[in-house]
């Protein structure tokens, strides 16, 4: 089993890969470490045959993917336990689970899964991989990839501390809510969207955490008829 640090990297690479090609700089940012540290650690992962570096990017090998899913399974089970059993808040469980996940042996994992009544998703809505490494495919793509004129529906909000999700909730945007994309700001700027009768500007960083699926329905309303 890889060390705790390597596990953190595998987890981060897997999650980043869900959103597209993974670059070392991206990992440095997510993990909060310097670029040379990332390069060194990626070297170690490559030596162990867990990752490949096609054209400077980072990709998991089949063994690496298996290891990543294993750690993600432990992380998400731990989160589920912290929320369901201990009653901790959403916003606090991610960091706690990062500590707990490294201590869960396969036996404890199985017991936990039974105790939690075989949960399918973590408290943030992400699927929990099964013991043999199967994972439900995540549908949807980030709202940030939408183009002007798209009509979509929120599938989930990829936001570990729950801050964004709850802020959006106060504006009436939940998983299931329909969103119409009207304009994109210059230089890959914010998105101008309509939700119900209201219009919002959503920053790129925000939009990349909102996962959406195509929806049907009419496009953007106009201001002129509403006011």
């Amino acid at each position: 089993m890889p060390s705790a640090t390597l596990e953190e990297y595998l987890e981060a690479i897997y999650k980043a890969a869900e959103r597209g090609e993974v670059r070392p700089g991206q990992l440095a940012e997510t993990l909060g470490v310097s670029a040379p540290t990332v390069t060194a650690t990626l070297g170690r992962l490559q030596t162990r045959g867990l990752i490949e570096r096609p054209g400077g990017a980072v990709a998991l090998t089949p063994t690496g993917r298996e290891a990543a899913l294993d750690i993600i399974r432990r992380h998400r089970l731990a989160e589920r336990f912290l929320v369901d059993v201990l009653g901790l808040g959403w916003d606090e469980v991610h960091d706690e689970a990062c500590i707990l996940e490294h201590a869960l042996t396969p036996r404890v994992q199985d017991a936990l899964e039974r105790f939690l009544d075989n949960p399918e998703v973590c408290p943030h809505g992400h699927p929990i991989p099964s013991k043999d490494g199967a994972i439900a495919t995540q549908t949807g793509r980030p709202l940030a990839e939408a183009v002007s004129g798209d009509v979509v529906k929120i599938v989930r909000v990829d936001d570990e501390d729950g801050e964004l999700l709850s802020y959006l909730a106060s504006l009436g945007m939940f998983p299931g809510t329909g969103v119409r994309v009207c304009d994109i700001g210059p230089f890959k700027g914010p998105l101008l969207v309509e939700v119900g009768t209201a219009r919002y500007a959503l920053g790129r960083d925000v939009a990349s955490k909102i996962v959406v699926a195509p929806d049907s329905g009419p496009g953007c309303l106009t201001e002129g008829t509403r006011r």
């Binding site: 709850s166 210059p186 700027g189 914010p190 209201a198 106009t222």
Partner: protein, 669 residues
């Protein structure tokens, strides 16, 4: 109500004896402040909440023979503690314990704006709903059946057009009547399933000794469960345990956290209500995108942003300058002789009277010469942009660029305005959403050379040395500014929460409202900055007239002469320049005349060209003027102002010293 715990009771409200206190709540831009201004007029005071730079306005208003206390809560979308505004709004509600809350809703956005009304009801307050902007809605073919809404909510609902004062009296009547009514235990219920789940927390609060702010048990329970961060200091262990159990039960039952689920239920309820009471007439369906959407479409919006930024800059730079010149002339012709005569009558013609003239003639003039032409006009300009809803389009389009500096798109307005005058820019920076952004933007504003500093660059370098070196100075300042911005962003902890900003539709600006708001902001500048400018001027005048300033030049000599390569007297004018930045150059020229002994002397007789460049550079960087420091200190405290002042001096010394060596070495001068 239960007894209170967990609040410090810091809210000071004008509570006229036995008279009701009415709080106004609403989403941003629904006309809440307009209603507040329509209600009040007696004297507005502000309650400053610890740890925030946001203020809650309170006032006493007279209606016929009745007095009411009015509280203007910050505009917010909810009360769940998700943003600073939400936290302050809820805290003010709990601290000030109003007898009734008037929630202002927008008929064209009824579902989302009713959410806040339901949340107020949930907390256990008496409620009146004001359906504002009723005229605009009617023009768009939308009316709200107020009777039906009142029936469904069980509270009074009135229609208002706050900008024209329509319905305001009805709202006050309803509020006064409601304030006297007994408080109901449960105002509206969620479905049985949810109610059953949350009941243990309500029971725990009911048996606790106290509740936060003395809220009813149900209100306290919904506030606690609805808050992402846990709500205030925990009342007691029993409540905490019950809440934890209920949270995990809700998470299991609904597959999402308690706070999210409550928000979802409340939005659902608000949406159903809105559908039931909204009446649409005519075939106001969909039409091609109208003109206003051109402000956010990049193809048309970006040129417009550049035009608007250029207009603000040009207006402050040229028209402001023109007005300031005219004002100074008028001042010298009218007020100045009167003040001079008064001072000389009182204090004779000596050092004392000259010092007094520094403060009461030059000081007041300095304050007004910035205040009237730059600040008042800028507020009117900004108010117009804000009133139409254009500011948000601007923020939308510039967000990406501002992000590099750790700021939102909204920060573009203060930064552009700063090139005209720092003072109104600082006030505009205070509208940014988080404390961190306000601090970054305000600090950056102080390092943008305002028109007075630019005047020195043009007047000294441009006039005596050439336009190329003048352009070089501007370029250096810009590079330095970008550097400061990037360092600040790294230095100040925390990152800006991603942009989530409501885009308001076009609204015809109301000149009356714009002027009223501009005047209120200007009054604040006048009463806060002017006394500081007068005191500062008196101190500077005392130093100058007593000759002590010359003594100060001795310890400064190694720095000014040795390091910067400037004449020692030039260093003094830089310090005096704090009063008004362009004063530095005026004094320097006067000194050049005095030392070289003949009138019309060129500045070059006193200083080498390279020294003039260094002088203008140092003047532009070091020591922002007293007025802007006063406004900065008011928002961010004395300690931070001193840090910024010290930083400005240190940077000026580094840049000036390097330039003093580099320029001759490069043989440019």
């Amino acid at each position: 109500m239960s007894s209170t715990c967990g609040t410090d009771g810091s809210g000071a409200v004008i509570r006229p004896d036995g008279h009701p206190v009415v709080a106004l709540a609403g989403n941003p831009n629904v006309g809440k402040s307009t209603l507040f201004n329509a209600l009040t007029g007696l004297g507005v005071s502000t309650a400053h909440y610890p740890g925030t730079t946001r203020e809650v306005s309170t006032a006493t208003a007279r209606f016929g023979d009745r007095l009411i206390g009015v509280v203007d809560l910050p505009g917010s979308y909810g009360l769940g503690g998700r943003t600073e505004d939400e936290v302050i709004a809820r805290r003010a509600l709990i601290d000030l314990a109003p007898d009734v809350v008037v929630v202002i809703v927008d008929p064209l956005n009824l579902a989302r704006t009713l959410y806040l009304a339901l949340e107020v009801l949930d907390l256990g307050f008496r409620l009146v709903v004001a359906v504002n902007l009723a005229d605009e809605a009617r023009r768009a073919g939308v009316t709200v059946d107020t009777t039906a809404l009142a029936l469904r909510l069980g509270v009074p609902v009135v229609e208002t057009v706050a900008t024209r004062g329509i319905g305001v009296a009805d709202a006050v009547d309803a509020a006064i009547m409601t304030a006297a009514a007994p408080l109901r235990d449960v105002s509206h219920r969620y479905d049985d399933d949810l109610e059953d789940l949350i009941s243990p927390v309500i029971e725990a609060f009911a048996s606790a000794e106290c509740t936060p702010g003395g809220l009813a048990p149900r209100g306290a329970a919904l506030a606690l469960l609805g808050d992402v961060h846990g709500f205030g200091p925990q009342a007691d262990a029993g409540v905490g345990a019950a809440a934890d159990a209920v949270r995990s039960a809700m998470a299991r039952r609904y597959g999402e956290s308690a706070a999210i689920h409550l928000a979802r239920e409340r939005h659902g309820r608000a949406g159903t209500l809105a559908d039931e009471v909204t009446v649409r007439s005519g075939s106001h369906g969909r039409a091609p995108r109208d003109l206003w959407s051109l402000t956010t479409a990049p193809m048309t919006g970006v040129p417009l942003v550049i035009a608007v930024a250029a207009a603000i800059f040009g207006f402050l730079f040229f028209i402001g300058d023109l007005l300031a010149g005219a004002f100074s002339l008028a001042w010298e012709g009218t007020a100045s002789p009167v003040i001079t005569a008064m001072v000389t009558t009182l204090a004779g013609e000596g050092v004392t009277s000259r010092v007094l003239l520094w403060g009461f003639d030059a000081g007041i003039e300095a304050s007004l010469a910035i205040g009237l032409p730059y600040i008042l006009t800028f507020y009117v300009l900004l108010g117009m942009l804000e009133d139409t809803g254009y500011l948000n389009s601007l923020a939308f389009l510039t967000d990406r660029v501002m992000h590099r500096f750790g700021l939102h798109g909204r920060a573009v307005v203060p930064l552009v305005a700063a090139a005209g005058c720092n003072v109104p820019a600082l006030v505009a920076a205070n509208d940014l959403p988080t404390k961190r952004e306000r601090l970054i933007a305000s600090t950056l504003v102080l390092f943008v050379p305002c028109s007075a500093r630019t005047a020195v660059i043009l007047g000294a370098v441009g006039h005596y040395v050439g336009w190329r070196p003048a352009a070089l100075v501007v370029l250096i300042l810009f590079a330095q500014w970008v550097g400061i911005a990037l360092v600040l962003q790294r230095l100040l902890p925390g990152e800006s929460r991603g942009l989530v900003m409501e885009m308001f539709p076009f609204r015809r600006p109301s000149l009356r409202r714009v002027i009223a708001k501009a005047w209120a902001q200007f009054r604040e500048f006048l009463f806060i900055a002017t006394p500081i400018v007068i005191v500062g001027s008196l101190v500077l005048g005392g130093l100058y007239e007593s000759g002590w300033l010359m003594y100060l030049s001795e310890p400064l000599a190694p720095v000014v002469e040795g390091w910067l390569g400037l004449p020692a007297v030039a260093g003094l004018t830089l310090i005096v320049g704090m009063l008004r930045k362009e004063l530095a150059l005026q004094l320097l020229v006067a000194l050049a005349v005095a030392t070289s002994g003949f009138a019309g002397a060129e500045l070059t007789a006193l200083m080498a060209p390279a020294a003039i460049v260094v002088y203008a550079l140092v003047n532009a960087i070091a020591l922002p003027c007293i007025s802007s420091v006063a406004v900065f200190a008011r928002r961010h405290g004395l300690a931070r102002s001193l840090v910024v002042l010290a930083l400005s001096v240190a940077l000026a010394l580094v840049m000036g010293g390097v330039m003093a060596r580099l320029l001759p070495a490069l043989g440019m001068m």
